[in-house]
């Protein structure tokens, strides 16, 4: 489950429930056309309401980073719990993606 809001060039995607390969594919197919069509400059993944994430979530975030950074945009993550934070560190996510709160 997820919801999103686009405001002044920033797309905030709120992820809920379990972010695995199956959900990552659904999120991707919905937000990529939006990113391309509306000139999104900044993408924020709010992960604070996720109950589960595996490396498919890392693929989703890094994939969107590659997409946005090609045109000077940026990606951030908000609200990771200790477990997701560990996964982000393990996979080097913070080398390219800003952590908010």
């Amino acid at each position: 489950m997820f919801s999103y809001e686009l405001k002044r060039g920033t797309l905030t995607v709120c992820l809920m429930g379990e972010l695995d390969h199956s959900m990552a594919a659904r999120v991707r197919s919905e937000i990529d056309p939006l990113i391309d069509a509306s000139g999104v400059r900044r993408l924020v993944f709010d992960v604070g309401r996720l109950e589960f994430m595996d490396s498919s979530g890392i693929g989703l975030i890094i994939g969107r980073y590659k997409r946005l950074s090609r045109r000077g945009g940026s990606v951030a993550v908000a609200g990771p719990d200790a477990r997701i934070d560990k996964l982000f560190r393990m996979c080097g996510v913070y080398q390219v993606v800003e952590r908010l709160a």
Binding site: H21, D54, S55, L87
Partner: protein, 151 residues
């Protein structure tokens, strides 16, 4: 070591079953008195292995993924994730962090690294054209009465 419990489950290699496999394994390991963190560790590792079987092993073709689980009297959980898909030509390389065969930008290449971080042991047997078996092993029950007695 004597088995406390054992299970086998076959399901079609479709993404919807990644969540199903996580739920099954969570239930199966409950008699080992897992902590919430151990439950999350095992769910994550199983999710990685099952996802690999579906998207790399079968790569969109039809097939069956088998879970074979065992709990032993000394508190150890074994989960085998078995596919009869393409197999892995170079297992050592596949286990390297950030290695991925994905030409797009959607896979992180961190699946095996995550499994290794969250489990005590990860064994991979694979043959090209025959399939892959990933064995995940974790000492779950850490209570004294569960641990093997040393003389």
């Amino acid at each position: 070591m004597r088995l406390l419990n054992e299970m086998r489950l076959d399901f079609p290699a479709i993404p919807e079953n990644e969540a199903f496999a996580r739920v099954v394994v969570s239930g199966f390991m409950l008699p080992l008195n897992p902590t919430l963190e151990q439950l999350a560790d095992v769910k994550t590792a199983v999710s990685e292995a099952v996802t690999n079987a579906i998207i790399h092993g079968y790569a969109g073709r039809r097939g069956t993924v088998r879970l074979h689980g065992a709990c032993t009297e000394d508190g150890v959980l074994y989960i085998d994730v078995i596919d009869r898909g393409r197999g892995i030509a170079d297992v050592e390389r596949a286990r390297q962090p950030f290695y991925t065969t994905d030409q797009g930008e959607e896979r992180s290449g961190m699946g095996f690294t995550v499994m290794e971080s969250f489990m005590d042991r990860v064994e991979v047997k694979s043959a090209v054209g025959e399939g892959t078996t990933v064995r995940l092993v974790k000492q779950v029950d850490l209570r004294e009465e569960a641990l093997p007695r040393h003389a």
